[in-house]
Amino acid sequence: MLKLVGKDLLAARWILLCGAAVLSLYSLQPFFSAGFILAAGGALALAGQATVFFLEDRNKTEILYLSLPVSRASIVGARYLLGAVLLAAGGAMVFGIIGWAGALMHVPRPAGGFPGLLSIEAAALFFPLTAFFLSLYLPFYHRFGFGRGTLLFTAAGVLCAALGAAGLKAALSDAFASGGGEAVIFGAVRVLRLSLGTPLFVLAAAAAVFIPFLVSLFLSTRFYARREF
């Protein structure tokens, strides 16, 4: 699986590095809120995965790798490993480069009730949400291929985001009336953290990352085993 991830990173390295560099430099501007940067980091991880799939689709290398001594399960597993790598890279960029460098350079951020990038709440939002969307994308990709899979994922992703936002708005209508969306979401996460206690909260956040990933991996493996090329 590592070899497959290695060839993906080799093939897409310049595009991924350019994306990361542009986002890092851009996000150091003071007018972006922490919430925007979290979303941009997550989008970068997703776009990175889609870029790898795009290159694979454009060059039809999937057929090449299915002709090599590589099992279909390994190919699927490698895509999840790549997703995890991109998630970690997105996290490293958001919390490491942008968060840390921003703090060091005293880049002012619009606060809006947000405690800042370098917080457990920010991490607890970034990793599970990004992992959720990656987990949503991959079964579509393995079932329908790049073109249709990406299109259907986009539709499903927008639907999930809209439903999530509507649900939050309904549940926290009073809070939304008194403050901005970013602050309300953050406030809710903070309340959750305080009520669970930090260790249990971190554990719950980790479960929110891994459970969708594992369910998604199971589905993708089944879908891919049935695909014909």
């Binding site: 090449l64 090599l68 590589v70």
Partner: protein, 305 residues
């Protein structure tokens, strides 16, 4: 007999909406679908087999089934003595494959493309790859997309030959290539099987290539095997009879596998060379059929005009 490839009663059907195969009108399609019907043939170790047939006959489907890129509906495929599904990893590590269009990352240099393939083979021989790259004059620093089709094929062949493959499968490797490169490729394949444990399955519709190097010919049409025999036996048995309309007499028709009639006369194909010479030796010209003749005469329906 020790076989590199054994296929028994292989079947595969696509529905009319199947996205993978678009059979030609004269191919295996019936009602818009595609059916590979109980295909059986075997390739002994140390030989080259040509897999021929018109477009849409099922050649690529057979190769995809061998590689487990698509699932068979029935039958059995044994590659290097192993079932192609149960022993998939072992088989693929001992198999070299060249697609009709080489599928590599086009924006990478050849040196980088090598890095995306070599680690997957346990027996990758980098010295062999470099030697072949030099022999084929492959510019390793150039991007794959800048190469000509011939050079791309050379790279694919170099990659397929650099991991001590025991069976080489080539799907239409010579289509669209100039005669110089085609000769070079055929020479390379002949050299490859000098080691008697190695074999080649070569799918093509450029039959002249096979007349040069193939030991066995398998002809598939409409998803069915027409014949699978040693080349010399085929070329010895099949003849084209060229004569006048009297060839079309009712008693002669069962002898012919295909008939073409034109203003110049009647040309008919038969697999019974001795009988054709006995019957028509004096009144018609009886010529040894080429593989192209056989494909041409048999490519339409039941072959009769």
């Amino acid at each position: 007999m020790d076989c590199a490839l054994e296929i028994k009663d292989l079947s595969k059907s696509y529905s009319p909406s199947g996205r993978l195969t678009r059979p030609a009108p004269d191919s295996a399609g019936s009602g818009g679908g595609f059916h590979l019907n109980e295909v059986s043939f075997s390739l002994p170790r140390g030989y080259i087999m040509g897999l021929i047939g018109p477009n849409g006959a099922g050649k690529t489907t057979i190769i995809k089934l061998i590689l487990n890129l698509i699932r068979r509906d029935g039958g059995e495929i044994r590659v290097l003595g192993l079932d192609n599904i149960a022993g998939e990893m072992e088989i693929k590590s001992r198999l070299g494959f060249v697609h009709d269009t080489p599928f590599f990352y086009e924006h990478l240099t050849l040196a980088d493309v090598r890095k995306t393939v070599a680690p997957f083979y346990r027996d990758w021989d980098d010295a062999c790859f470099r030697r072949l790259a030099e022999e084929f004059e492959l510019p390793l620093g150039k991007r794959f997309k800048t190469l000509s089709r011939g050079m791309k094929m050379k790279f694919a062949l170099a990659a397929a030959l650099s991991h001590k493959a025991e069976l080489l499968i080539l799907d239409e490797p010579t289509s669209g290539l100039d005669p110089v490169f085609r000769r070079e490729l055929l020479r390379k394949l002949s050299a490859f099987i000098q080691d008697e444990g190695k074999s080649v399955l070569f799918s093509t519709h450029i039959t002249s290539d096979l007349e040069r190097i193939a030991d066995f010919i398998t002809f598939i049409r409409g998803g069915r095997i027409v014949f699978s025999s040693p080349r010399d036996r085929i070329l010895g048995a099949w003849v084209v009879v060229k004569g006048g309309p009297e060839l079309l007499a009712a008693e002669n028709r069962p002898l012919f596998k295909g008939i073409r009639q034109s203003a110049c006369g009647v040309h008919a194909l038969t697999a019974e060379a001795d009988e054709a010479r006995r019957r028509f030796g004096r009144e018609a010209i009886v010529e040894t059929a080429t593989l192209e003749d056989i494909m041409f005469f048999m490519s339409k329906g039941n072959g009769h005009a």
